[in-house]
């Protein structure tokens, strides 16, 4: 499987439609403090089905939607789409090009999509089940998780080993 593109709109500080292409194998993301780098990571965790507010640094789940700025009204909807090629048939689907989306409206309505067709959250998480990827897998790591991994708070270590087993 190869990541192709991440497309974000109305998610956290990304008010406008923003795309990141993943043509290369080793990709660096840089930028000043507070510019939105970790929000990109949150967008990927979110579209993979992350349900815990604390893992996404949120007070409420609705805080993922752009909350406005000096010259901008708050957003009405947050949408993230992650598209990839299913090389090596890692994902349990026959499509060669796959895209997953997650959408949340201000009124609380939420939606998952697989290749732009509405689906359940389970359909997304089942897709990745044996790949080692998941919203809280060993593959998405922030610096503040180092203490958790070493002190194994909440059995996170065992959960990670089971993902890799």
């Amino acid at each position: 499987m190869r990541l192709k593109r991440l497309s974000i709109k109305g998610f956290k500080s990304f008010a406008d439609e923003t795309d990141i292409h993943f043509h290369e194998n080793l990709i660096g993301i840089v930028g000043p403090n507070g510019s939105g780098k970790s929000n990109v990571v949150d967008a990927i965790r979110w579209v993979l089905g992350e349900g815990k507010k604390s893992e996404l640094r949120l007070g409420e789940m609705s805080d993922v939607i752009f909350s406005g700025a000096k010259n901008r009204k708050e957003g009405r909807v947050a949408r993230v789409t992650l598209s990839f090629e299913n090389t090596k048939n890692i994902l349990s689907t026959e499509f060669s090009d796959v895209s997953i989306s997650r959408i949340l409206y201000r009124d609380g309505a939420s939606e998952y999509r697989l290749n732009n067709v509405p689906c359940r959250k389970r359909d997304i998480t089942d897709l990745f089940v044996d790949s080692g990827i998941g919203s809280n897998s060993y593959a998405i790591i922030s610096l503040n998780m180092v203490e958790d991994i070493l002190h194994d708070s909440g059995g996170s270590r065992r959960a990670m080993i089971e993902q890799a087993a």
Binding site: P32, S35, L143
Partner: protein, 163 residues
């Protein structure tokens, strides 16, 4: 189920020691131990690390950088067992000195032959190591944008920001 778990754990232990010794040195020792062995599915999994023959009694005596390298060794050990198609590291290189940043980046470069790695960093050594750099910036107050960046320009771009 517990059979599979035990095999996986044994593999991870072997990988962990190999990666740990490449990030620290050959004189360093580490281990993953199951406490109260009789019930593997519920036992606690302890990580032990003994860099440079020191006798740390527990992980909490390690330094900030040593803790990060130990955690990274464990994660890389999991990756070696089942290589995830992509991995993301968010400022994991921040506590590391230059020598350890370069060792860390060497491992990621190696793994990026099979998988895609996304690394968020403020460290110039890491920026110089990647294939492509994306710069995230505030295009207007409170609104983020992204654009591809040339590393050489980035060095001066940040100082431009200051002017």
């Amino acid at each position: 189920a517990s059979e599979r778990f035990n095999i996986a754990l044994e593999n991870i232990r072997v990988n962990f020691r190999r990666v740990f010794q490449s990030l620290f040195s050959q004189d360093d020792d580490c281990d993953i131990v199951l406490l109260n062995n009789d019930d593997p599915l519920n036992a606690n999994i302890e990580i032990m690390a003994k860099p440079k023959g020191k006798k740390p009694k527990s992980i909490s005596q390690l330094s900030g950088g040593e803790k990060t390298l130990t955690a990274a060794s464990f994660l890389f050990a999991l990756y070696l067992l089942k290589p995830a198609p992509f991995c993301i590291f968010d400022e994991v290189d921040a506590p590391l000195d230059d020598v350890n940043v370069q060792k860390f980046n060497k491992i990621i470069r190696e793994f990026s032959k099979d998988s895609q790695f996304i690394v968020i960093t403020h460290n110039k050594l890491t920026m110089a190591e990647v294939d492509v750099l994306y710069g995230v910036y505030l295009k207007e107050q409170g609104v983020s944008g992204v654009s591809a960046v040339d590393f050489r320009k980035y060095e001066s771009a940040e100082l431009l920001e200051e002017s």
